[in-house]
Symmetry: C2
Subunit: 362 residues, 2 copies
């Protein structure tokens, strides 16, 4: 067994309206059933007319680029300096929505194909109809990724094979069930294609021979199965953006106790975490003794029956209006520290007849 | 030009102390100068004895796994449920620090090689010394990634080639300088190797022929150049972790104005963002008129000379101690909302002789 990675030279410049099946099929009359064609998305975009006119330079160029980026963006994931990592309408997370100014006239930008899976299916059908070959198509593009320097080519569109090879449920020779074995083989194939495309000049198509066993049949579900839903992703937002979102959420924390009893140690840690930020002499006391807490909750006006823990908040003395406002900001600091460890809190007046100035019901 | 991906069958089970150069060299006497060997990290770990004994099952197994994970972890990046994405001591960000329980006896865990670049160099030297072949070595492992379903194989260690192919400074046929063209070719080679390894049973080594042109010389800098420093990474923390960090930071916001004048529109947006969270009747007024602001800053006790903007904070009336504490929490909400948009603020007493109860100096 061996796999081969072959270049397809002679495709030349692609322009709007070109029939890629003809360009590729005539450049590679040696295609065989079962070949996997890795096609750079840019030539598909060009053939499909996914180009936008922009000024060649100057501030208008940047403004035009920004407009194009906004149109191609479903959601901004992260920004730093001029870098914009966005989720496209397809669901792919890419720098600048995959918009590219290279290998195109200076007055144009190349957008990603509108539906790369559909592009792959159309090219596959075209090659089958015109040349009688049953191949798989991968539409590839170059992407960066978190944590690792350097870019790799991955799949944006697929037809004729499954994007993922699934080994789940298989058992290794030691009797361990394989659990993490959904391999994104189309991304590995796209990267393999790049190895030869990148060594050549202007080589938009590579062929991987020997990976699939003919006859291929269905187009399959395409590359869209590779898109992880943001709600399932541990990295759906950039770190700075998520941090800012956490701060913004802290500004509008709801005013209610939690559904479950907090861990007293976690509450004490939250109290300790704000110690250096609050006015000297301010005291936050978690009352953990059941009897003492019951006695206090009975005399806190409006104590919510579902609250399970109590923090007594006392300002430094003497206390005037300015000190009480400062004290309030410090109580809110504690409430924020508690929220950071998932302990909601409700602000209440102090227990009647005590020197405390506020109560937090957790 | 063509590349070939070849399997190396017949390596069999690897145990501690095995000489991998002998195992591979005798299984693949057909190796040639310039071949790239993609070697699954697990057989390197096994040969190097990077195994830990753990109970085969029960709660002790989980506790032992947790201890091993903690030891292999330099930094926790993200957690959800049982998933732990961590940065290893090498700098790689991986689920469970790459610790693996598959393809090994149930009472052992396989750790990553301690220094995969060194492992690659040693194997390369061994093959050269024993068999006279000058090859490149990639130590590979399987990783998930944000945003895309499915795993791919990437490089943990490299010897005999550069990890990154750098096209920066080159110019495309349209005269555009290529800017984003540092390709992580060793990751693409690792993925290409997986294509054939994954199709075979127990195939820990693949050879990529035709990619490099002999003679190879230096070992090179290894795969460590692929590790992006966390400070340079837009995704150095999981979204939930960064969000919690933002909340925790909100709890300990410093009490000082910013270095630069804030955009008044941004300040107004922050004020608007807390409108539904504050007590009815509380009013935050950004004083943008220069003359009015100068008049007020003159009568705010302790106004910092470097502050550039002023928000007047007035509680609802009538105002008693309980209302002032609540008012303080609301002022802190505004301060947090301002911090979320990078506008620091200092809490000050109200201007003398006004009905306001606090001032924020921005």
């Amino acid at each position: 067994m061996r796999l081969e990675i072959l270049p397809v030279p002679g495709i030349g410049h692609v322009t709007e309206g070109d029939d890629l099946a003809v360009l590729i099929g005539s450049a590679a009359p040696w295609l065989r059933d079962g070949d996997v064609l890795v096609v750079t998305s840019k030539i598909i975009s060009k053939a499909e007319g996914r180009l936008v006119d922009v000024p060649a330079d100057g501030p208008d160029r940047q403004a035009a680029r920004d407009r194009v980026l906004a149109a191609e963006t479903a959601r901004v994931v992260a920004s730093r300096g001029a870098t914009r990592i966005v989720q496209t309408h397809h669901g792919f997370v890419m720098a600048s929505a995959g918009i590219d100014a290279s290998n195109v006239d200076k007055t144009r930008l190349v957008l990603l194909p509108e539906d790369p899976d559909a592009s792959a299916r159309a090219l596959r059908a075209g090659l089958r109809e015109r040349y009688g070959v049953n191949v798989a198509i991968i539409v590839s593009d170059t992407m960066g990724r978190p944590w690792r320097n350097g870019l790799t080519d991955v799949a944006l569109g697929v037809a004729g094979m499954d994007a993922i090879r699934d080994h789940r449920g298989e058992v290794d020779p030691y009797g361990n069930e394989l659990v993490l074995t959904q391999m994104a083989v189309v991304d590995e194939l796209a990267g393999a294609g790049e190895l030869i495309k990148g060594k050549c000049d202007q080589m938009p198509v590579a062929v991987i021979r020997g990976y699939l066993t003919p006859p291929l049949t269905e187009d399959g579900e395409g590359a869209r199965v590779l898109v992880r839903d943001a709600s399932m992703d541990l990295f759906s937002l950039g770190t700075a953006e998520a941090r800012a979102a956490g701060m913004a959420a802290a500004a509008t924390l709801p005013d209610r106790p939690g559904d479950t009893a907090p861990d007293p140690a976690v509450v004490d840690q939250a109290i300790a975490s704000v110690a250096d930020a609050i006015a000297p002499g301010t005291v936050f006391t978690q009352v953990t003794d059941d009897e003492a807490r019951r006695a206090l909750t009975a005399i806190v006006p409006g104590w919510p029956t579902d609250a399970t823990a109590l923090v007594l908040c006392s300002p430094p003395t003497p206390v005037g209006p300015v000190q009480l406002v400062r004290f309030g900001t410090d109580v809110q600091r504690l409430r924020t520290a508690l929220a950071a460890v998932d302990v909601p809190a409700q602000l209440l007046p102090p227990p009647n007849g005590t020197t405390a100035a506020a109560t937090l019901a957790l």
